[in-house]
């Protein structure tokens, strides 16, 4: 077990000053921040990274929560079941509000899985020890066998890192979200109409619009994955840096903020997935009809808004 110094009590560091005097360096250093995750070990050719471990942790939390709550369900809910039902009930209402009653029910399992998985993957960043427990790099000299101090303090590989701060994770879920949206589009609109959205050889304008649709889908994957990655990675770095600059006090101030950001990002991801799902099951003609009759008022509204400003 090797802890870096950044999350230790300042009083503990008082006793360590003579070591620092010997080392002649700073008490601790800013941890090295990598965009990519760290491979802890490999199983055959298969790398196991700290973010992968965190995603397993999040899965376990979600599974324990949901299977525990739904194992023996009572008509009058109590304890865990009540809590889970409250959260899931809000989400069901939201789904039914956005996508309509029958579709909201069909979308709910997918949207809820995304939401709760991401929620706990995001929230793991505030667990003490995440990003600060790890294996020391070769050539370091742990104090008392476990603490890394001075110039060694950032030379370690963290065991757990928030899954959402790994692009593999966010990209995977963004891909799943977009692919499932496409599948629903195929299933409700039929192959011909759905592919017609993207590949239209009847007229050049339609062809360009189809190409734009493809680019838009691509941009959606990028925006989904980068928004989540950026927010959680930035929050993680914020906590690490503040923990280094001002241990214990610094990160504490930002824990509520990070809880909020984690929730908002999970919600935005699942809400956008839901919105795109409900758009995918709407046929193109429907949308055109509604767009055509709203366009005029929209333009008028924008114009009047300009005039007011």
């Amino acid at each position: 077990m090797f802890w870096p110094i950044s999350h230790l009590l300042p009083s503990l560091t008082g006793g360590a000053t003579h070591i620092l005097a010997d080392a002649g360096g700073p008490l601790w250093l800013l941890p090295g921040i990598d965009v990519g995750p760290t491979t802890l070990f490999t199983i055959g050719p298969f790398p196991v990274t700290n973010t992968l471990i965190n995603s397993w942790l999040s899965m376990i939390i979600v599974l324990v929560l949901f299977l525990g709550a739904t194992r023996k369900m009572a008509i009058v809910p109590k304890g865990l079941q009540n809590f889970v039902e409250w959260g899931a009930g809000l989400l069901i209402d939201f789904c039914e509000e956005v996508a309509g009653k029958p579709w909201g029910r069909r979308f709910f399992p997918f949207v809820a899985t995304i939401f709760f998985y991401l929620l706990f993957a995001n929230w793991t960043e505030i667990i003490p020890g995440v990003d600060s427990l790890g294996t020391p790099m070769p050539g370091t000299h742990p104090v008392a066998g476990i603490f890394l101090l001075g110039n060694d303090s950032n030379k370690f590989y963290p065991w757990v890192r928030p899954a959402s701060s790994d692009l593999n994770f966010t990209l995977a879920i963004a891909l799943i979200s977009v692919v499932v949206t496409q599948i629903y589009g195929f299933r409700t609109l039929g192959f011909r109409q759905h592919v017609g959205k993207y590949l239209n050889f009847r007229d050049p304008i339609g062809f360009i619009v189809g190409i734009l649709e493809i680019v838009a889908e691509f941009a959606r994957i990028i925006s989904f994955s980068f928004r989540l990655f950026g927010n959680v990675f930035a929050g993680d770095v914020l906590l690490i840096v503040l923990g280094t600059l001002l241990p214990f006090i610094g990160p504490t101030v930002f824990y509520p903020l990070e809880l909020f950001v984690g929730f908002i990002q999970a919600f935005v991801f699942s809400a956008l997935t839901l919105v795109f799902l409900s758009l995918a099951i709407t046929s193109h003609e429907d949308e055109h009809a509604s767009a055509a009759h709203t366009e005029h008022s929209e333009v008028g509204e924008l114009a009047s808004a300009d005039a007011v400003h």
Partner: protein, 78 residues
């Protein structure tokens, strides 16, 4: 939207869908166009004047603007 019962909120959710997307609508086509142009420059024109890169960048910009305009125009008014 035909199968959306709550039409007062439809505009809100559609607008929500654009959050964090419009920027990428412009950025992604530009980057794609730039990469495509650079690939063409390297492969076909042997890295002469980066003309294809610039052209791809501009094409991407045009595509991005078209995407944004389309996305905004397709919003239902609430």
């Amino acid at each position: 939207m035909s199968n959306n019962p709550s039409n007062d909120n439809a505009g809100f959710y559609r607008a929500l869908a654009l959050v964090g997307q419009v920027g990428f609508y412009i950025a992604v086509p530009m980057v794609l166009g730039a990469f495509l142009g650079r690939f063409l420059d390297n492969a076909l024109f042997h890295d002469t004047a980066s003309l294809a890169t610039i052209f791809g960048l501009l094409l991407g910009l045009a595509a991005g603007v078209a995407l944004v305009v389309r996305a905004i125009m397709r919003l239902p008014t609430s």
